[in-house]
Amino acid sequence: MKTSGDVGKDKSLGTRTGSGDVGKDKNLGTQTGSGDVGKDKSQGTRTDSGDAKADNYGANVISDLREKGGSVHGAIHINNDNNSTPMVRVQRIKKSSVRTRLIIFGVLAVMLLLCSVFCEYLTPYDPYLQDLGNAKAAPSPEHLFGTDRYGRDMLSRVIVGSRTSIYSTLLLVAIITAFGTIIGVTCGFTGKKPDAVLMRISDIFLAFPGLVFALAVAGVLGGGLQNAIIALAAISWPKYARIARSQTLSQKEMPYIRAARLAGCSNLKIIFKHILPNIIGPILVTSMLDIGTMMMELAGLSFLGLGAKPPTAEWGSMMSDTRSLLSTTPWVTLSPGLAIFVSVMIFNLLGDTIRDYADPRSRGGRK
């Protein structure tokens, strides 16, 4: 009896706490959202008025205050109103902020790309020129990242390294996306035997622990950037095949695919014109997110000596070569590390943003 009573109490308690939490969370969410509106608005006004400060300071203060008052009213209003208004507002904020983020990270990523394309012209010094008289120099205005043990300018080497690191990463991601998608769509669309066979093969690849398998492949094929790319491609394509397959399966039975058949489309045309455009979103998002991961893994393989070989400037191998110097001349090891960190972060954030943007709930119509 006692026990059951206790259970009952516990349950009701649990429920109460639970519902309380939900309520709080909701409120919090709304408040944060509306708070953002207020902040954004007032910030906007302040910046605007900042330009005109010299003209009439007083008027600006008033308008500033008014703006704040307005936002406070807005916040209260939103909290009282439980209809669709707050949701709409929060969504609008989310959408516009997603677009801003998209622009920011997009521009940063494009800058990284440009940097890797034009890296020869951006280096202050020749990245391969040795200057033993000036070896292991600490960062200084002439050499912002210092110099390594042969006196090569680290900043130049990091910039040149972007070519190998970013290029090979993008190449790798492009390969696995294309290959995995082709396999996945083929499996999903044809079904039956080809599907079973190809999916079992991808299972085999998935069964190996990723980096270890890459190590084994790179070990068998020998080191070198090309083999590192092959190794990583071998372990990463099944993920794309799975996504593409499941997406294709879900689209294949849709009435609009049948309608395309009725319109006299061949299978190839159905795949390219109707299925691919409808499934490519989630795949692209995954590949954007994978750019960061693959950059890390390539650098990791290079660090282990299975990727790019010295003297080629590649971030991972640069870190690996100089890791013994970490305690004496840390800048030599840390500057390529910083480059990896920054670019992985930019590509990851870009991937996250694209995922948010591709989410139909954060987008209105498509034109």
Partner: protein, 254 residues
């Protein structure tokens, strides 16, 4: 008169591992004559949409034969199968889902024309004519499926089915997702089409509203659990249903 569409012993069994086999369509035979409108009624799940899929070869029959314009189409594949869609077209039960969300309505309507070799500009003009015929504004050609209402989408779906000038039109509940006034509009549109095309257009009219069938169809099949329960002229069937199931169906509606 020679029938334009002839189905003989059509059967479709859905089977899945670990589940009981489901006979969705069970030895159904019927004939559709040129210029005729044949109604198919039956409750939900009685296999009407499956029949629509079978006669258009979107679903493969487990058994039976489909003859279109005197030609056996039961086992056609590839190019030959694609060619039957110049003769037979289907209006889907769910018009909104039958348009590719990434293509404009105009592209969807004109797709069959472009696929049959018409130039894009010409197809565009034809699409505008079709939209007009189905009571839609020209501007709908540029709209996307999610931007239009259910009734507008239904009209666009009919326009698409008519684009290639088929001789057989299968309408799978072309009106059931719409409210009564729009339903009347669509029915008027279909009647006008029949009047205009005469013997060049035969309709397989799938529906679960016996009143509509009475107005619109020359003959009707009553489906029950995948079988044909009764066949005849709608008025006769309504007046004296010869079958327990038909009786209940009519009572439930009237």
């Amino acid at each position: 008169m020679e029938s334009i569409l002839y189905a003989e012993n059509l059967t479709r069994v859905f089977s899945r591992k670990g589940q009981q086999e489901l006979v969705a369509v069970d030895h159904v035979s019927f004939e559709l004559f040129p210029g005729e409108c044949l109604g198919i009624i039956g409750e939900s799940g009685s296999g009407k949409s499956t029949i629509a899929g079978l006669v258009t070869r979107l679903i493969d029959p487990t058994e039976g034969r489909i003859v279109l314009e005197g030609r056996d189409i039961t086992t056609l594949r590839g190019k030959e199968l694609r060619d039957i869609y110049k003769t037979i077209q289907l209006v889907f039960q769910t018009p909104a889902e039958s348009f590719d969300p990434r293509c404009s309505l105009g592209d969807g309507i004109g797709e069959s024309l472009v696929n049959s070799g018409m130039r894009r500009s010409e197809a565009g003009r034809e699409v505008e004519r079709l939209l007009d015929e189905c009571g839609l504004d020209k501007s709908f050609a540029g709209k996307y499926p999610f931007e239009v209402s259910g009734g507008q989408c239904q009209r666009a779906a009919i326009a698409r089915a008519l684009a290639i000038k088929p001789k057989v039109l299968v309408c799978d509940e072309a009106t059931s997702s719409l409210d009564v006034t729009i339903q009347k509009d669509i029915m008027e549109l279909l009647m006008e089409l029949r009047k205009k095309k005469g013997n060049d257009l035969s309709i397989l009219f799938i529906c679960h509203d016996i009143a509509l069938v009475q107005q619109f169809c020359d003959r009707v099949l009553v489906m029950c659990h995948g079988r044909v329960a009764e066949e005849g002229i709608p008025d006769d069937i309504v007046r004296n249903p010869g079958n327990e199931y038909t009786k209940r169906l009519i009572e439930s509606i009237l």
